[in-house]
Subunit: 372 residues, 4 copies
């Protein structure tokens, strides 16, 4: 999940203490740099459209690390982290008509009320009654149970036999790569695409871009290991930007034309600058990266280039399509998974994911049940 | 015309001296700050697809002033200025199949070969064999005669009875406002649109935006006279930005929501900044302005706003549609014209246009024939 | 409303008898050819997402006449007719978060659950839990009160001062003309559009087409009175098809080219045939008409013409845009209203509307309160 | 090539006799049922924009058989057949700027002038100065040499090392399947697509559909051999329609929902009827088939289904993209080729292709040089 500093919305806080429902293990944020696996009360239904999900598989996202760094001030101390997950419906409020107890479901990182102006326009990320709230403003999915508001339109049925590990990639990272990078970038057959940043989100863009059969996908990163992963996941060429010559290399590879689509998957001025330097006239610069400061936009060059620059917080409107694409075998995302832990080992999982480059970690899966 | 610093292309220079074809009056650029109405040789056919047009109506554009300031180094000293015009075909090369001697034609500011990759994609502005060359890299239209390369696809037949003064607005300013502002901005019924800059190009965007029936068009400028013109041309509200509070005023008028489309029609960092501050989530910032330096893009705010920023040099692909819209009465552009001169008075016309604010000048028409 | 023979969905029937809530007047269908203004029990909340609306303005639609002819077998005897209306929220179920008692609202002819697959794709007409049910499968709006299921997404707030008579045209006829005719037809500036059928729905297409500024709108009908109305509402040319020569006339008016968009607004083979004969290569035939039998499609001619033929049941997704367009003055639909009655005079209103041609009736408004 | 009965356009006929340029072998149409490999004069440049191509690879199309049956009355007796081919530029007129003697080129089945209204709108199939004329109205490609009018925009450079056999499939069959079937059908990731007709054109649709990663592609035909080919080329399921139960089978396979896209690739009423019966609400019926008679369109069912029906003659605007897709390996069309002959064996090649089912023939390649 990318972090949008939206004001805290009116969500009833989950019970802080234990209750008759029993307790559970959960990864709790205790302020900058502090996390622990705590015993917490299980969540309960607050609104008729809530559902309680027993988590069977979850994962850790880069934005969880952002919160832990203290970079997300709106996240309250004491919150359970995580916004990705697969599980079983444990209890459904009376207003939940699409799911019932026992259903296996995918949890979307975006909670959507379906009835506000933004949801009706397909901009669920800006839902006035939801958006990215899980593990950000309300308790999240790195726990044994989670409460999902607006469950009718924030959960998806998982077909029988669907690989749960892959499913959890559909909570956030695959729709983010697809919507913010590939769809906003209008990737199409024959295109030359460059993706700057071969971390998990850049690789998710790489995987989903292939649904539209571009002729070339150039992957740009500083880390040779990640570039190796990119090649394994379908990049047609990789460019090590460690020498500061990524722009020259892209222009050479494209005979000076530049690329049809430049996807920014890092969120820093230097990587944005590569993108604005390589996008061809008529092309698109599709930003995925979460930026912490302004960039300098070279409008004195770009004003006449007939380009588009796009930004987006994932709306997860492509989740049904992604489910079908995985089921049909058109999208094989399994290789994004590098490490597996039990939920009870979440502290260790964080240690690995926080040192992703050294550990050669991409996505780290958490599953329920006792440690092996 | 907006000025794109494209390298000088391989165009045969027009004859510098007089010839058997006779001479003509022409407005000639003599270096920064210097212009004169000179006697020049009439142009001749150089390529089979050239046509020679006898100019009956022309006009002056802001970019002519830019060249005169010396800001466009690629424009050679001695060039005849002007890229807008209406006239009569005087001579057509053997490869010109769409027009013949005597036809009344509209001259496009963009010369299009129709066969290069960019032309085939509709990006005529980037034509590898043309683009904006008239009055920029080859002799232009502020003269009694002009040579038009690739005449088949760089001229348009003018229907009987079409108002010539309005027609000359279709050479550049109306398609520029429409394509770079309105179409790139995806203006649609019900939208709230803001246009920053109520000069001729901003007003052209205002006029053409109304073809798509937005609910509100807010016009923002420092000059009360221009805002008055904007109201007369269809703005639903005007905002004087002289107090530096344009952003606050727009946000107040939109109940804090911002605008669906922000059109930048000036080309400076402060006006761009207004646009990026007022564009609503899901909206578009459509840039028309010619920028001379970079802008600071607030990506730390915009990355999650689901917006698009677009740039474009006019392609004049909408000229046929604009001709129909004027003919049918859907588009009334006549009010953009404030002053009229004979071609022989071009020097005086420049004096007025160079002091547009003081003179309350928008578009200044030049017509052939003796001074009144 | 156009009639779609969808199977009766699982809606709890309204109470047939009187109750503690009191009674009301309602126009009731009693089988083919039979209607009466009866005393009925007021509706009550059945589901948490229901709202009860006190009707202040309503109208009669061509499909109400269809039902009365007995052509809509799925409509049960005893049903209250009507699917258009404006009113005041009398009571809102606990799941209705968007409206409260006392709100003035527009009732959509399409009931949308917002959470089924079709609603999420914007195809509310095919809502698995709604669609066109009002006055078709459940009690409708030609009554003092009506129950609206899924009220959150089936009602719209009416802004202060909005003309109620015009508002009631937004329940069905204006979005139908716009969505099925104009948007499906992809009407754009410069286009030549032909609309076959100048009844209320064809005129609604005529009005809403003008939001996109086509160059020409040709209106075709047999009835000179209706063609006169069409001219008053913005048609640029009208064609009386009474002599069977509509096709020849259109081809003559378009110099043999045909039309960019042909809108079928009748629903019979002969009117469809006019459309398929006049649509230009590259054009669209947008069907609005409700057809009772097959048509012969001239595929031996059309296969190579690069055309599209579209069908659609209104989804009412454009209601927010239409509200803004009326408020801003871009859309003036008032002239569609020809007759006004009190709700207590509904029987007389039907007599007029059933003889629309003779009575020169377009839309007939019903208002609450005692007869004048 | 699909056959469009356009009136014979004003093309200078090729010389009938021999000339100083020498003679060549060519497959000539001599009236219904009659063809022979004749000695003919080599073509010469007629217009400055003509090019003469020495054919190195060609093929036979279903429409060549149509002409031979006498079904295409506008094709004159004595015409050289064929509209597909790859070759070397032998001579280029003075107006040909994009190619020169010695260039290896792909010949498009559509001749495009690039400057008429239709070409400027991308509808090259309806080019007022070209369209499908090769082997239809002017001498074609089943010969040692061919004259190509408007060569600048009717030929494409073949990159070094491009497989010529595959290239010749880009003259017609691949862009036809893609443009008329896949693009008009708006195939997208996750879709369920059905293609009715597994002949060469249906299989071309099958191959190019995969560029957009639909979840399912159902292939429907009567011929088990062709269904076997379909499976080899990427169909996810095949349906033998020999029992007249194709509709029931598709509905069963889609759980009653129908298909998102139904592609008609035969051109008969029964196959069109399958398509209109299986297209889901909101879906598209994309017609590729050449129809000889009308079809009955079930508008009494379809009017409310929110569907589109499209027709198209190939415009070959996708040729550059297809060239990139083949080069990059995203599109592997080689398996469409089943038989190979020398140009001198063209008579035998026709015998095979005319009995395609029995011979299990898909595309039959003709190459220059002496018989093996």
């Amino acid at each position: 999940m990318k972090i949008d500093k939206k004001p805290v919305i009116n969500q009833t806080a989950d019970d802080a203490g234990t209750s008759g429902h029993g307790t559970m293990k959960a990864l709790v944020y205790h302020g900058a740099g502090k996390r622990s696996l705590d015993e917490r009360a299980r969540p309960t239904i607050h609104q008729p459209t809530d559902a309680i999900i027993r988590i069977t598989t979850s994962t850790i996202c880069g934005s969880d690390l952002h919160i832990l760094k203290g970079d997300v001030p709106e996240t309250p101390i004491g919150l359970i982290l995580g916004h990705e997950g697969v599980g079983i419906v444990e209890e459904a409020g009376p207003g939940v008509t699409q799911f019932q107890k026992g259903d296996k479901v995918l949890i979307s990182c975006i909670t959507s009320c379906a009835i506000c102006d933004f949801c009706l326009r397909g901009m669920r990320s800006h839902c006035l009654n939801g958006g990215w709230i899980l593990g950000h403003l309300i308790d999240g999915t790195q726990a044994e149970y989670v409460r999902i508001p607006h469950a009718n339109t924030s959960l998806y049925s998982l077909p029988e036999g669907f690989d749960e590990e892959v499913a959890v990639l559909l909570s956030d990272i695959l729709p983010t790569g697809l919507e913010c990078g590939v769809l906003n970038g209008r990737v199409k057959p024959g295109d030359t695409v460059a993706i700057v940043g071969a971390g998990p989100i850049g690789l998710a863009a790489l995987l989903t871009a292939q649904l539209f059969s571009p002729a070339e996908i150039l992957m740009i990163d500083l880390d040779p290991n990640r570039l190796e992963s990119a090649l394994a996941l379908g990049a047609t060429k990789v460019i090590d930007s460690g020498d500061g010559k990524a722009v020259e290399k892209v222009m050479a590879l494209t005979a000076g034309a530049g690329v049809d689509v430049a996807i920014e998957a890092v969120g820093t001025p230097p990587t944005f600058d590569i993108c604005q330097a390589i996008v061809a006239p008529g092309g698109v610069l599709a930003n995925i990266g979460v930026h912490g400061k302004p960039v300098q936009l070279q409008m004195e060059k770009l004003w006449s280039r007939n380009i588009s620059i796009t930004t987006r917080l994932v709306d997860t409107v492509t989740t049904p399509m992604l489910l079908k694409s995985v089921l049909s075998g058109r999208l094989d995302a399994k290789k994004l998974i590098t490490h597996r832990f039990k939920l009870s080992e979440t502290m260790a999982a964080y240690d690995v994911f926080a040192n992703a480059a050294k550990q050669r970690a991409l996505k780290v899966i958490l599953t329920s049940g006792p440690a092996a």
